[in-house]
């Protein structure tokens, strides 16, 4: 039962993605992806397959975060035809953090601030011309002040 439902969801998501990538991938808030407890499961629910490593995605985030509750992350994609940027915080309880969509005319750039529960890679997946590309950057989260 569980298996069937899951397979169905995956298929649905993959189908949706395949059909809508050039227009709007965000047909509906993807519950299955957001509730996935691993990055791999979330990416599967989003129909991303295995994205190719890319050097054309820039992630600007601190090496050491001053406070894990508010980590500034700036992402720029230099891949032509970029339509969306998705963010995964690998070690968070729910890694999938969001997808940002850029209709033509909007630059493939986003600034956001996220909660990081612990030291973790921040992974970015870019959708461009129907294909997926990825890179990641490790952000260290430490104890800040007196701890009391």
């Amino acid at each position: 039962m569980q298996m069937n439902r899951r397979t169905l969801l995956q298929a649905g998501a993959a189908l949706g993605a395949a059909l809508l990538v050039p227009m709007r991938a965000l047909a509906a808030w993807n519950k299955a992806a957001f509730e996935a407890k691993s990055e791999a499961d979330a990416m599967r629910a989003l129909g991303m397959g295995s994205p190719a490593e890319s050097k054309d995605i820039e992630i600007r985030a601190p090496e050491i975060a001053e406070n894990g509750a508010v980590v500034p992350i700036e992402i720029t994609s230099n891949i032509p035809g970029t339509t969306s940027i998705s963010v995964f915080i690998e070690k968070n309880p729910f890694p999938y953090t969001g997808t940002f969509e850029f209709p033509s005319g909007t630059m493939p750039y986003v600034h956001l601030r996220a909660k990081l529960g612990e030291t973790t890679p921040v992974r970015v997946v870019v959708a461009a011309s129907g294909k997926f590309y990825t890179t990641a950057k490790e952000v260290k989260v430490t104890i800040g002040g007196c701890g009391g």
């Binding site: 709007r24 965000l26 808030w29 993807n30 957001f34 509750a69 508010v70 980590v71 915080i89 968070n92 309880p93 729910f94 999938y96 953090t97 969001g98 997808t99 940002f100 969509e101 850029f102 209709p103 005319g105 909007t106 630059m107 750039y109 986003v110 600034h111 956001l112 601030r113 996220a114 909660k115």
Partner: protein
């Protein structure tokens, strides 16, 4: 009624640098207060329009920081263009605010 957003839209050449602050607790559903779990309460979707055309949209999770901050850049904008931003959260609350693009450097 949720508190208003703060939206800033400034021209740099023909690019509008749009930055938004949202007042929202972004509760993860994992935080405890007085021994009780505070229910998850967070923004799920955001859309932005420039003169009625959607220029940015996002689906987000509870991992976005409390009182969210986002910035994005739209080409082909001019001073006076109307920027409208809307968010909706998991409890069905929503908020829409607007501003106009300010001429910059």
């Amino acid at each position: 009624m949720p508190d208003p957003m703060k939206i800033r839209a400034t021209l740099q050449g023909d690019v509008a640098d749009i930055r938004v602050l949202m007042a929202h607790p972004m509760e993860t559903g994992l935080r405890k207060q007085g021994g009780k779990v505070v229910p998850a309460h967070y923004i799920q979707t955001i859309t932005a329009q420039l003169n009625g055309r959607t220029v940015f949209s996002a689906d987000i999770s509870q991992a976005i920081s409390r009182n969210p901050v986002f910035a994005f850049k739209v080409k082909g904008a001019k001073a006076g263009d109307k920027v409208v931003i809307t968010w909706k959260d998991n409890e069905g609350q929503s908020r829409t605010d607007e501003t106009t693009v300010q001429g910059g450097s």
